[in-house]
Symmetry: C2
Subunit: 192 residues, 2 copies
């Protein structure tokens, strides 16, 4: 099956849209309530969040340390340690999103950028996708320009230390966990 | 900072709730629109999805193969390969959720269960958490009992093959990506 993973609506598991209704449009969230035809012919409802997609950047300094942010996340009522990330502005190239967000949020820029992987964080109720980039040899411009109402601290640390935080349950943001494990499998978390 | 990661609302980044209003309650999704006081004293809105939490199981057979599901995910209009997972019923013990979901969705049961990690997949707009369990030496009962309207295929494959699918961009469900990378770092994805 490796080379024949069913994709798209030709699957025998596919659900076909019968109708779609916007039930909430906030400033951030946009929720749809659709009716679908199930594979057995029955009808069902599907509630989901429309998302423009996001980019996460794994910024690595010339000495091998990584750049992380500490940010308060209201739904969970606490701070999280995270790699820089942000939403894709309409039609923006994901690489441009990554470079813009990294500079705005942390003041780091430049270096060598490489696409790593696409992730889908919430397949049961959102169409969000996260494009992950590795940015090596970034340098600090000393300037950042946070959006109004955006508050976050910026840290650098050896990736081996971040892995220890992950193992101790102190890094649980799922995109950041993937980023750290990806660095580890690329051999970039060993002490220098 | 390793041992002093700020947690909870004593952080200098904390946002304090001023009001909370339910703006959508569907069968699946429950959306709140809150007003908060920001660290600088200004007010802002926060829109977020209330979630009961979920459990993901990494089921491993006595021969080292893993159990995966193929399921159609409507928000993304295609099938995904995933580890078995399901929502925590009110007050249910996460281990019980995992054992129940694994049996219902795949027919596998028994074996040795171990908690691995807690993940937060959507910290910007949901309070969802995913408790991850490793279930080694599971055996097939030959019976599964899907919920009405639930359709999914069950596969077993060597974890090394699943890692190849991940590297080729054919496994992108973020919780499943974490599960596979975790298996890899535990040395459980090597061919036997």
């Amino acid at each position: 099956m490796t080379d024949h993973l069913p994709r798209g609506t030709d699957s025998d598991l596919a659900e076909h849209r019968l109708s779609s209704r916007e039930v909430y449009r906030g400033n951030l969230l946009h929720v749809l309530e659709d009716r679908v035809r199930l594979p057995d012919g029955a009808e069902a409802g599907r509630e989901w969040v429309v998302h423009p997609g996001a980019v996460m950047v794994i910024p690595v300094l010339p000495n091998g340390d990584i750049v992380l942010e500490r940010q308060y996340r209201y739904p969970l009522e606490r701070d999280f340690l995270e790699f820089p990330a942000g939403k894709i502005d309409g039609g923006e190239d994901p690489l441009a999103t990554g470079q813009r967000e990294l500079l705005e949020e942390t003041g780091y820029q430049g270096g060598r950028w490489r696409f790593l992987v696409t992730l889908h964080p919430v397949i049961s109720y959102s169409n969000e996708h996260i494009e992950v980039f590795l940015a090596e040899d970034v340098i600090s411009s000393g300037e950042r320009s946070l959006d109004e109402g955006e508050f976050l601290d910026v840290f650098t640390m050896p990736p081996a230390q971040a892995l220890q935080l992950l193992e101790r349950g102190l890094i649980t943001d799922m995109k950041t966990v993937v980023g750290l494990l990806w660095l580890e499998r690329m051999g970039m978390t060993r002490a220098r």
